[in-house]
Amino acid sequence: MKHIITINKANLKNTAAKGGCGKCQASCQSACKTSCTVANQKCEK
């Protein structure tokens, strides 16, 4: 490809089918607390 470089796996859709086990950490999104954005968490499965 000359014009476009894809820099990641773009696999979000696969995770929908397999996901939702709920083992991962809860994640307050807000300013006041653990301040994680969901996206910075790890899947713990």
């Binding site: 476009i4 859709k13 969901v38 996206a39």
Partner: protein
Amino acid sequence: MIHKYKLNGLNIVLDVHSGGVHLVDEITYDLLDNVEPPFEEECPKWVIEKMMRFHDERDVVTSYKEIVKLYKEGILFSEDDYEKFAAYSVASPIKAMCLLVEQDCNLRCEYCFAETGDYGLGKRMHMSFETGKKAMDFLLENSGNRENLELDFFGGEPLMNWDVVKQLVEYGRSREKEFGKRFRFTVTTNGMLLDREKMDFINREMSNVVLSVDGRKEVNDRVRKRVDGTGCYDRIMDKYKELVDLRKNENYYVRGTFTKYNLDFAEDVLHLYNEGFDQISAEPVVCEPTMSYALTEKELPAIFSEYERLANIILEHDKQGKHFNFFHFMLDLDQGPCAIKRLRGCGSGNEYVAITPEGDIYPCHQFVGIEKYKMGNLNDGTFNTDIKKEFAAAHIYSKEDCKKCWAKFYCSGGCNANNYVYTGNILTAHKLSCEMEKKRLECAIMIKAAKAAEELDAEV
């Protein structure tokens, strides 16, 4: 849906529904303004003609082919087929709890949402061991098949009720086996009462510790004040260093709040780094827009450029082998949480609850005191499952603004409490928070893209 933007000399395209991140050249960047599915095999004539004003025809044609190829691979203009998963978004076991073990505080930070510890309730309460025990039992009994239970000691200042914290940790540990569960304790402290005994206990028992400090001494001391009005910086910094040192620099972070007073907050992040911390968070203040330190629309341009500056500082440091984590720019583009988790974010009121010293149950620490959302009480055994259901159904597809938003799988619909406080509805996004969140995400993705681009250069 795609989101494209230019930052730091890079043309970045995010494909929202596949999570794909692409770096594109100028032609493709322009071409994406003119084409969308359904695609024809060849680039439409009118598009070529329009593009030819600025670009070479052959390049337009080949760029178009690449766009169509990625579309067919499902990583550009991919379809939004998540709504069906959102429909399964039902009540879940409770897996996390915030214990407001102490509603009093030994600091009087100007911006504290807990209103110097009493959450606006006008009372200063300590949680008793009995109530704490009931809370932990409640968590153990309502956590279904979840094995890891998170329990955060929060306040006010939790170290002011230290004996109860210790007893509760001991109690929790004594019951893990019979339930087949594991507690992950965390504590958020202002540092004032830290001593070696507490540090050792925290480092042994707590899987994470959050240390509040706003950055540079003058910035910190202007808002983080003791009862007598003097700042707390000098008292806490050495203790934080000692604690972090003792826990071998792992699983902690220093967190600060930035306000209108320090719109150059990148300096505060750097200050904390230079003081030896490498896990750093700085958060925009949440408060009434009328406060003198409030962040409003007017401050957005300054905040945006400061986030960009910080992103560049991080990249520069990285190049010199100096790494630190700024929490809001941390992003895993490949192994982040599953899409299901991203639909709902924090899980407040559903997977997560907060307990007050009186045993009242709220959807989270920020809802404490909002009568409408009081879910029940541990002492009289009440628990309103309708409120739980309402929160379970609060996901990005039930929030009108979020559904259409490019940031939805990273932001997960924002903060329900913020939404409620500012808009009166947990489902209505608070625009100012959205703007900042989107900027942070653009910066975070840019950092990843810049590193990827550098690696590619190195390979050539």
